[in-house]
Structures are given as C-alpha cells and as structure tokens.
Symmetry: C3
Amino acid sequence: MERPRHQGMAKNTYMRWRLPLVCLLWEVAMIVLFGVFVRFGPEADAHWEEEKKELNLTSDMENDFYFRYPSFQDVHVMIFVGFGFLMTFLKRYGFGAVGFNFLLAAFGIQWALLMQGWFHSFKNGKILIGVENLINADFCVGSVCIAFGAILGKTSPIQLLVMTLFQVTLFSVNEYILLNLLHVKDAGGSMTIHTFGAYFGLTVTRILYRPNLEQSKDKQGSVYHSDLFAMIGTLYLWMYWPSFNSAISDHGDAQHRSAINTYCSLAACVLTTMAFSSMLQKKGKLDMVHIQNATLAGGVAVGTSAEMMLTPYGSLIVGSISGIVSTVGYVYFTPFLESRLHIQDTCGIHNLHAMPGLIGGIVGAITAAAATEDVYGKEGFIKAFDFTGEYQTRTPSVQGGFQAAGIVVSLLMAFVGGAIVGGILKLPIWGDAAAENCFEDEVYWEVPEDEESDAYHMHNPDKPASP
Amino acid sequence: MERPRHQGMAKNTYMRWRLPLVCLLWEVAMIVLFGVFVRFGPEADAHWEEEKKELNLTSDMENDFYFRYPSFQDVHVMIFVGFGFLMTFLKRYGFGAVGFNFLLAAFGIQWALLMQGWFHSFKNGKILIGVENLINADFCVGSVCIAFGAILGKTSPIQLLVMTLFQVTLFSVNEYILLNLLHVKDAGGSMTIHTFGAYFGLTVTRILYRPNLEQSKDKQGSVYHSDLFAMIGTLYLWMYWPSFNSAISDHGDAQHRSAINTYCSLAACVLTTMAFSSMLQKKGKLDMVHIQNATLAGGVAVGTSAEMMLTPYGSLIVGSISGIVSTVGYVYFTPFLESRLHIQDTCGIHNLHAMPGLIGGIVGAITAAAATEDVYGKEGFIKAFDFTGEYQTRTPSVQGGFQAAGIVVSLLMAFVGGAIVGGILKLPIWGDAAAENCFEDEVYWEVPEDEESDAYHMHNPDKPASP
Amino acid sequence: MERPRHQGMAKNTYMRWRLPLVCLLWEVAMIVLFGVFVRFGPEADAHWEEEKKELNLTSDMENDFYFRYPSFQDVHVMIFVGFGFLMTFLKRYGFGAVGFNFLLAAFGIQWALLMQGWFHSFKNGKILIGVENLINADFCVGSVCIAFGAILGKTSPIQLLVMTLFQVTLFSVNEYILLNLLHVKDAGGSMTIHTFGAYFGLTVTRILYRPNLEQSKDKQGSVYHSDLFAMIGTLYLWMYWPSFNSAISDHGDAQHRSAINTYCSLAACVLTTMAFSSMLQKKGKLDMVHIQNATLAGGVAVGTSAEMMLTPYGSLIVGSISGIVSTVGYVYFTPFLESRLHIQDTCGIHNLHAMPGLIGGIVGAITAAAATEDVYGKEGFIKAFDFTGEYQTRTPSVQGGFQAAGIVVSLLMAFVGGAIVGGILKLPIWGDAAAENCFEDEVYWEVPEDEESDAYHMHNPDKPASP
C-alpha cells in the first residue's frame, strides 16, 4: 500500500541511473589513482625485515602498527557507528542516517588517502601508506560526517557524494596550510576537523535553505526507540574520544596525556550538560537531544590542547564550559539560527562542533602560548611543539599566535568552500527531495511495511504511518 | 497530550533547581580538588623523555599506556554501554537506564580518581595519574553501576549522585583495606567491585523498600525491542570481560592468563545458563532475563582468581557453577528476597553480582591457598602474589586466609555503608517518584510522543501508552 | 493471551529436558577434556619469567598477548555482536538470532580450542593455549555462525548444538589439511572459514529443505527497527574486518599490510554495493538487505590475500568486484537457488560468504603465484610464504597451485560434511518447529507481550501480533 503523503512528491528523486553512475565512476577513478600512486609504506611492506635492520630495530613491536592500531579501530568505530547512529534519532530517517553516513565515509576515506597522501606521504612519485594514514583518512571523513549532520534528511545521496569529494579536498588543503605552513599543533582536530567541518556544513545548509521545511516538521522529531539508537552513537563517540584525540600524537607520553585530558574533559562535560539541560527547561526535565550531543562537546574542546600539558584540572574546566555552551546553544542558538539566519541545522552541529571547535582552537592557542621549558622539560618542550629545524627559534607566544591564525584560516576555508560547494549542490540535477518529503527514508530506501502501520492505517488512514 | 496516569503523582519530582545545583556544585568541587591535587604521572608527563633515560628504557613501547590502553577502552565500554544498555530492558525506562548510568559514572570516575589517588598514587602532596588510574576509576564506578541495578527505576538522579559520592568513598576505603592492609589479590574485583557493590546496593534497596511497588508492575517488564537493546549491553559485558579481569594485572603472563581464564569461564557459563533457563521453566522456553544476566556470572566468579594459575578447566568449572547458581537465583531467590526480605532488586544483582562475587572471592582464596612453587615457578610464585618486602614470608595458606578475610570485610563495609547511605537517601528531599510512577521515564525526561501511542490513545484512552 | 497461530503447531518443540541435557552433557565433556588436555602456553604460564630469560627477551611487550589481544577483542565482537545482530533483521526472530548465535558460539569455542589444539598446539600430551588459540577458536566458530545464517529461523537450538559439534570437527580437519598438509596461506580464512562454512551451511539447508516454508512468509521480512539492529551487526563486522584478516598474520609488516588491504577492499565494496543495489531495483531505491550484507563481501574476498602484497589498488579492485557479485547474488541467485535448487538460504550466505569466499581463494592463489623476490624482498618472500624447511624449494606458481587445491578441498569437505550433518539434523528427534512456526521466537523463547500487540488484537484479532 503506497502511503498517501508521497503523492505530493514533485521533485525527481529517482536514483536508478544517477546514483550508480556516480558511485561507479568514482570507484573506477579511485582504482586508477590508487594504481598510479598508492603503495605500502615501509612498515607495511614485505621489505620490513630489511627496514628493521637498517633502522636497528630489534623488535616487531616498534612497527607503528602496534602504537596506533588500537586507537585506529576506536576512531573507525566513531566514524561509522558513532556518527552513523548518533543521527538515527529521527523517527523515519534511520536508514538514511546510518546508510548514507556509511556511503559517504567509505568513499571519503579513499579520496582522503589520496589527497592527504599527496600532501604528507608523497615520496618518489608514490604515496606510501600505513596505519597513520588510515587514521588521518578517518579524521578527514569525520569532518564530512559533521557537515552531514547539518543537512541530514534534506539531501540526496548524490549530493552527499559530491559534497564529500569537495570537502575532503578542501579539508586536505586547509590541513596542509595549518600543519605544514603555519606549523600548528592540532592532533585532535579542533580546528581542522570540527571548526572547519561544522562551519562548512553550516554554510552549505544556509545556501540550501528550504523555506517550506515546516511541511515535514512531524518527521523532524524522535520516537522512543530512535532516541535509544542514537544513544549508541553518543556513547561510542564519548567513550572512544580519548582514542580520537591521542591517535596521531607522538608515541609515549603525548598519546598517554591526550587520552587522560580527554577522559577528564568529557567526564566534566556530562555533569554540566545534565545541569543545564534540566535548568533551561521549564519543567526541569532532561532532554535527550542535549544528552546525545552536548555531552560530547568536551571531547571537541580539548582536541587541540589534549596532547599539551593542559593538566587534568584544566581539562575539567574546558569540559565544563563546553558542556554549558553547547547545551545553551541547543536551547537558544539553534532556533535563532533557523529563524533569523535561515540556517537549518538538523543535528545542531553548531552546538556540538562549531562552538566547541572554536573553544578548542582558542584553548589550544592559550595552552601553547603558556608553555614553558619548566613545565615540559627541555626535551619535552621541543618534542611537544616540534621546535626543530626551521622552527627551532619559535617561542611559545609566537606559536600561540600561529595557533590563533589556524582558527581564522579554518573559518575562511569553511565559509568560502561551503558557499561554493553549497552553490554546486543547489543545482537541480542531484535528486534531492521536496520539502514535504524530507526526513523520510522512503524517498531513497525500500522500507519494510511495518505491521503496526498497516494496522494503524486501517483505523486512521489520514495520519502518517508509525515506525 | 498529558498522559493520565501522571495525575496521580503526589511526590515532588521537580528537578529544575535541585539537579543543576548538585551537578554544578560537585563539578566545581572536582575542579578545585583536581587543581590542588591531580597531576600527570611520569609516563604521561612531558618530562617522559628524561624519565626514559633515567629508567634506561629504549622504547616508547615500555610506556604503560601501550600495555593497558586497549584493555582500558574495553572496560570503558563495559561501564557505559555494557551496564547502560543492560538496564534498558525495562519497557519505559530506557532513557533513565542509559542516561542516569552515564551521569553517575561520569561523576563517579572523577571522584574515584581523587579517592583512589589519595590512597594509592599520592606522592609529594600530588596525585600522579596514568592509564592505570583511569582503569581503576572505571572499576570503582562499576561497583556503583551494580548498586544502581538494584534501585533502577525507583530513584531520582539526585539520589544516584548522592549514592555515588558515598559509595565511591566507601569503595576506596574498602579497596585500601583489602589491597594494602590485608595484601589481598583481587585484580578482577570479585570482592572489591562485585561483592561490595552488590551487597551495598541490596542494602540500600532494602532501606528504600517501597511497599506499594506493585502499582507500577505493568512497567517492570520488557518489550520485544527493549530486550534486544539489553542484549547489546550483555554482549559487550560478556565479550570484554576478559579485558576487565586482566586490565590491571601484572604485565606479561598475568594479563595473558587472566584473559584466557575469563574467556573459558564465560563460555562455560553460557551453556549452563541456557540449560537451567530451559529446565526451570514449565514450558521449557528460554527466558531473556537469564540470558541477559546469568551468562555474565562466569566473569564475576573468576574475578579474583583469573590472574592466578586457575587453569582453563578450573575456569570451566567455576563458570559452569556460577551460571547455574545465577539462573537458579533469578527463578527462586529474587521472588523470595522481595516477598520475605523486602529486598526489591530490579535487575537481580543478587544473582549476577552478589552470589557470583562471593563465589569469586572463595575460589580466589582456595586458588591462592593451593598455590605452590612448582606450579608457578620460583619467580612466578613471588611475582603472582607479591610475596616481597614485609610479605616475603607469607605462605599460600596464610594468603588464602587473608583472601577469605577480604570477603568478610567487603561484606561488612557493604552492609554498614549501605545502611547508612540508604538512610540518607530515604530523606524526603531528593525528589524520588511515587510508587505508581516508578520505572517510567516521563518523570525525569522529556519523552517524545510516539505516533503509535497517539494512535492508541484514540482507541483506548484508559490504557497506558505503548513505547 | 495465547496467540492463535500457535494452535497449529504439530511438531514437538518442547525443549525442557532435551536442551538442558545436551548443554550439560557437553559442558561436562568439555570440563573433562580440558582437565586432561588443556594447559596454559608458555606466554600465559606463571613460568614466563623463566621463559623470558631463556629466550633472551628483555621486555614483557614481547609477549604475544600484546601483539594480538586488541585484534582478538575485535574478532570476538565480530562473532558475538557482528554475526548475532546481523541476523536480527527478521521481525520476530531477534531473540533467536542473538541468543542462539551466543549459545552455539560459546559452545563452539570450547570445542574448537580442543580440536584445533590437538592439531596445532599439542606438546607432550597437552594442548598449550595462548591468545592465538582464542582467536583461532573464534575463527572456527565464525564458520559455524555463517552456516547458521542459512538455516536461521528453521532449526531448534539442539540442532544448532549438534551442527556446531560436527562442523567444528570438520573445520579443524579441513584447516589441518590446508595449512599443514598443503602448506596453504589463508590468514583471513577465505577458504577455511567462508568457503567451507558457507557451502557447508548451504548443503545442510538443502538437506533440510522445507517445501511449505511459504506458510511463514509473513515473518521472513524485517521491520523498520529490526533493520537498524541488523546494521549494528553489519557495521561491527565491517569496521573490525581489518582486525579479522590480520589477527593471526605474522608480527610486523604482515599484520600491518593485512589491515590496510582489508580496509581498502571494504571501502570500495560499499560503493559498488550501493551502485548495484539502486541499479537492480526498478524504483532505484536502496535495499537494506544489500547494504547489510554485500558491503561485507570485500572483507571476505581478501581473506586469503590480505597479508600478501596485494597492494591497495588490488584491494580496491577485489572489493569492487565482490560488492557487485554479492549484490547481484541477492537479486538474482537467491531466488533461483530457492526455487530451482531448493536451497532456502535465510540470510543469503551464498552471496556474502560462498561466492566472495571463492573469489578470495582464487585471488589468493593468483597473488601467491605472482609473488616475486623483487616485490617481497629476499627475506620477506621467505617469511611471507613460510618457504622454509621442507618447503624451501617451493616456487610461487607451485604455491598458487596448492592454494587452488585448498579451495577444492574446502568445497569437498563442505559438501560431504554438510550432507552427512544435514542427514543427522533431519532426524525427527531434535525439536525443530513446523513450517508455519519458523522465524518465530515464541517457539523457543518466553516473549514479552507487547502492549501494542494487545492493543492491536483488540481491534483486529485475526491478524498476527506486531513486534
């Protein structure tokens, strides 16, 4: 039985030839480019035995795989289960949330391996990859998942693939400017992943503004079980964030410290989120939207500084503040952004990623500027900020300035890039749905006819079916 | 549309000022105390490069981070997803199960870092933390999650925060008595976590006895999908329990052995649980309550002995027995405890943690008493039981005696502490719900109006809405 | 209220004495056999301190535990959550999917530790186990979980336990022939796990052919939320597959390389699956069945070759092809197998495991045959293929031939073994359900009466209840 609301569909959302064409075209391009450029790095190549001798390594344990693989797997879970399930809170968009996130991330990591590889792992005409490249590709895709949060439910899978292509490219350029040209530290990506990803996504959703979106208002909420599915995403993001922020830090104390700082920040963030969620609601009840999202702001906000000597109490302070800012954002800013600035932000990424990302960048700049040899030790100081080679005379306060510049560059890249990409996505060829069909899986998915809904239709055929 | 059953609410469950006040007050206290006391341990501090030289370490791999971080992340998942989702089995208390568990654990780990730090990591006026402290904080909070299982659905979030404050404190004292004064081995926490946590929770729920709880009997059960959500919790606890029991064991063989013993015990436990679940039911059908809970008893019951030379077949025996005891407990003891002893144990923690915890303590005492230099090797014997310094003359049988004493101490601490804390929680100021509103998320949470329930209300407005 | 459809049950599915008897009998057998045979290996034994000295190891890090434990835990999650939840897609068989998978895997790993131990870890009359044995036991059980996918919903738990007993035995024999007699490489188990497991399961389900299965056709589909539960399984399998394929590879570059190849293959597989899922459907909509399953074919198809120098672009090619083959299989082959060959394959394991497993075997044979000293390095070449001892003169092309022989042996073992075991399972003593009660949890489980269904029955008592 075809559901009545679909009769109103005016736009052409037929994917049969367009989606396969884009997917296959891009996969073929990936194969060709990988064939030309991508090879195993020395630690993954069968020549490793010779490499070990050359480097005087006595144990296979010195292979970077063992330093980073557990963190990589945690990051991998965050990208696919974390982001994927976090977005299943919508009552009728669970397939799209998990499925499209899966699609764009699977494409994005391939393209990111190439883009980041050209910038960072290019030797003698080849990109040499290892576990750190896999982590960085996942990171890069993380910024696309964030942007996806702003346009969730309002875009076709083709639009998502197009956005991924461009956003990964811009991400890599921005990352190169920050890490290589400005020599900025940002291991957990407060600037490169969160600030860039969120403001990029917000700009895109602004360009794609849908004036009649209230036509699908009934589908913008959650149901009881969809909120529980979303909590799976939340918890995996929350639990594994210490791995995220420490995954590409230097071996040893830096990875160790990043994990501790992030653990502390996140713990504090939960308490202030709960406090403000209850406080800002007339009835004093907790709101799952806040618990699902604002509890994670603490991870974002120490993304830059976690590997620095932020200290556990510093982390608690940052986490506490970001939980408050994020919750307040959900209550006051999101409605304001929508009504006044026409920014329709489905998941509230402005509150979870944009503002905490900015906090993260600023905290990073301050922490860097405040660094002393006393606190870090002589060698630790140099190692923590890579003050070697051409940077050996850089002082902490100068570093702080460059860190701040990194925020500005990320914002500019996000606004300009988001505007251009948003313009491209506005072309009427990508098969997005009409406003009354947003947030609805049936547009792009075969959806099983639930028995409940059949039953329901029998009694009340005018109302939409229930999940 | 307000649901009718809420009109009967007599108690004041309004959280708007109380909950934020408690959360913020405690977070501020944490920040101040962390500021005064908590610093990075040598392996997470930027001075690590100098530390390495001092200790003659040639590789960053020797940083404890790499020995324990993967296990830490598994334990972290057990606390937040494992316990959180295990308790979502109730049809209308999923938000409370996952959300309150999240809240109390996030607060508890901060307070545990301090309490355990003062007892175990205090040097020159500072608590020096590293990955092992994070694991221990999670462990400590695990005992609170266990106690939460007994009072699930019957308490306000403020009561949970108050209980967490006190229970973490008592846990740390008890742990100090056992590990430092009695020199007891308990790496997987059969005594410190499970026995203490469970009997503490059972005492609290006894004090908070609600004579009219049958008024919310219709909400004490599960629905089809809530049972599947609970299985997510079960499986993560089950799969990661080998990491739990081995997380803080000595490097090398002890961690390795703990994981193997736990793996074996848990596998056996599943079979005996299934057997008795079917056998004790007239129709011979399996009961999800048993599968969700009793299958885990095998992990609890080898918590003390897993790092000892329990042997794989010893583990199978312990796991088999504990699965039987636990399942029998669900069928016969839980109703008895409720009707005769007025102990209302929502999740049946008596069967999953209390009895298996006692078994674990006893098995640990026996295994320790039976240890010989022949089985452990001369060095292994000393290392396994830390028979150095003032304990170098302790014999296995004496160790067995002290292990047994550890059980008794844990029980006493649980009963006395639980009685006091239960008394505090009985004060009428914490905002708990009336009996007819127990096991119901709407008391403390914004709950989405499901379309099903709207639909349902139209036809039959007298019956409660369905999830 | 007893549901009317059950009045039609003709077969005796009463489990009360049969299931407990089988479970307990086998657990006792396990205990006895473990008592006689299984001991800790040197790296898990308390004598490790002495072992370290003997082997001149300076660090506990050299214990195999640290090389493999993180991968082991990922594999563990794949077996219990991955396979368990992947099969929850059926609307009324979620308990059976997760619960029976749990039961058979928990039994299977014990029996596999013994069977594989006798073949591979037997020294001086004892089986010496360590973390690699745990991984191999999980692998072995993986092949049973695959076979379970073909008969899902149509078998009693006793049949599953009987099948597990025999299949683990046959798996171990087949594995011994391949790895030891043919000296074949198959670290990710394309042949030993997937090809064998799938064709075994398909043969069993052919023997158990049910001509009247359309009587339970209404229960063979999914509902909205059951599809989301299944996606949990899918994503964990997908994310952790790099750990699966690298878990037992040689330390160092081989583990590293396996993970990278698998990561690449899986990413490509998602894009071609999405493309063909849309392309092969008249309306161009995506089908969750394909997304849940075919996206994983890329992991299966590089199971043999992942640890070889397949190269990242080679992996993309293999992943792309297997996604296409698998999706096409779901659309065209599965209906054909059912209608013409009477192979009722509930989960479509032919598409996810059988065909991609064959591809994996073939790709492995080709990759091995194409190996050169130039690509692998002199030492790397010998190490990668273990061309030492009696095999030191084996050439790549001969190795390729033996790899191909491994496929044939696996197929033969699967067909012959599956036929015999299928015959045993056909005996009318195991308590399987009648055709009209297939895919229905109520046959073997206590299922909570959902309020929705009560409500529903009130209005329309003739239709089946909804989950």
